[in-house]
Amino acid sequence: MTSMDALKNKIAIVGVGTTEYGNFPQFSDYALGAKAFKAAVEDCGIDKNRIDGLVCCRVPFYARMGEVLGLNPRWTLQMPPHGRMSGMAIIEAMLAIETGAADYVALIYTNIGRSRRVNYGGDEAASIWDPWGFTSPGAAHAMMFQMHQNRYGTTTRQLAEVSVAFRQHALLNPDAVMKKPMTIEDHEEARPIVEPLRLLDYCLINDGAVCVIMTSAERARDLKKPPVLISGVGARDAFSQSSISNFDENFWYAEARDTADQVYRMAGVGPGDIDGLMCYDNFSPTVLFSLEGFGFCGRGESGPYVEGGTLGLHGALPTNTDGGHLSNSYMQGWALNVEAVRQLRGESGARQIKDCNIIQYVAVTPCTRSIIYSRA
């Protein structure tokens, strides 16, 4: 198998922009996307007319987004509104830049799910299981966590460690939606949604937008801030059980192992070298599956591993230092990639990881992806 190893440290993220996060019925996707784009352009100091590549994710129509921003790129890609797309999109942009299809790519993600009352289940997400009342990605994750409990004895108190750590980070992040402290008891007493999961195992649904600007490491030197380099990427899809949406009976363990092998080999590092983890957390169990699949702990050992604040800012593996999807913002992986950049630039304020040199993004989903970022 050929690999992408030759792209190590050749592509950079040079600009990032995020909007406020919350409930904004007054703003369209395009208005939010434009705010994030403007912030990212200012962040890297680029003339926006030099941007010749455009990736739109969850934005309803790429052409309208281009019209709004006055962009006529030579490379455009529309991604569907699925949570797993951010890593995929960043890898696609790498390829476009490497091949010369585009020199500067702006990737824009928008979400107006909160103000428009999106709820991810029922008739919004019709499936063949509807007659039995089985619906929503949360239910699929509840199915998997029940299996994790059965197989490994994992407890909901251990699961709570994930939500509690990310909430503590959100309290250090002025942009985060959630402002209230949370204890393990709060998690245990929260309203059940689809048991064994409770409200505090579910990600937020909020409005907002994110923009990331990428170019080659060489061109990046001429821009405002020190570039953040993409040192490794890995990918593996698992589609054979897709009719049960967001489900895998082995928690995507094989796909995560495969992705881990690729990303660590390309970057030339291992799990022990990671200063901070940005871990896709649509539901708290996904974090446990990710820790096992990427070798931060043994298979089935994520419950004991996260006990005692392992994922906290001062723990062994600071994870989702912005608060993640559970407590910062439901930007479907995009804000986690931005947080990786901000951490490596030293811009994360009260939640800054000390001596931060390598950050890993991980999304364990039917499209498992990982990206390792490092400082130039």
Binding site: D123, I128, W129, D130, P131, G133, A139, Q146, V194
Partner: protein, 137 residues
């Protein structure tokens, strides 16, 4: 009384034989006539060999319990009276996975790997829902 829970969509032609078999109290999966692969949910071509020659085959209705969840939220109004209700995930003896409900109340003892068996509940005059009971050992 009108039935207020979701019905199988009438335009899902691929699943129609499954529901017709269920109406006759038979659980069925799709079988490839070319390579013999058994699969469910159905597919327009065999995912193994891509043959379009697919038939429906009644199966034993036996399987093992893989997982289960309890809904405390109703995504359709028709499920509100049932809250909280269970869904279960079963691996059929023939291989494929199916999501369904337990017939009757939630079984007292549940564990991954418990043997289960399909039973059939006529929900309307035209629509029967396969469900599962835990086999008494």
């Amino acid at each position: 009384m009108t039935y207020t829970k979701p019905l199988p969509p009438v335009d899902d032609l691929l699943m129609q034989p499954f529901w017709e078999n269920a109406r006759a109290h038979r659980l069925s999966i799709q079988r490839c006539e070319a390579c013999g692969d058994g699969h469910f949910p159905p597919s327009p071509v065999c995912p193994h060999c891509l043959s379009e020659e697919q038939t429906w085959e009644p199966v034993s209705g036996r399987g093992t319990l893989l997982s289960w969840v309890t809904f405390h939220r109703a995504y359709w109004g028709g499920f509100i009276p049932d809250l909280p209700y269970q869904c279960c995930l079963v691996r059929l003896a023939e291989g494929p996975l199916i999501v369904a409900n337990f017939a009757g109340d939630k079984p007292e003892y549940l564990a991954e790997g418990l043997p289960v068996r399909a039973v059939f509940q006529d929900m309307t005059e035209h629509f029967t829902l396969p469900k599962f009971v835990v086999e008494q050992s």
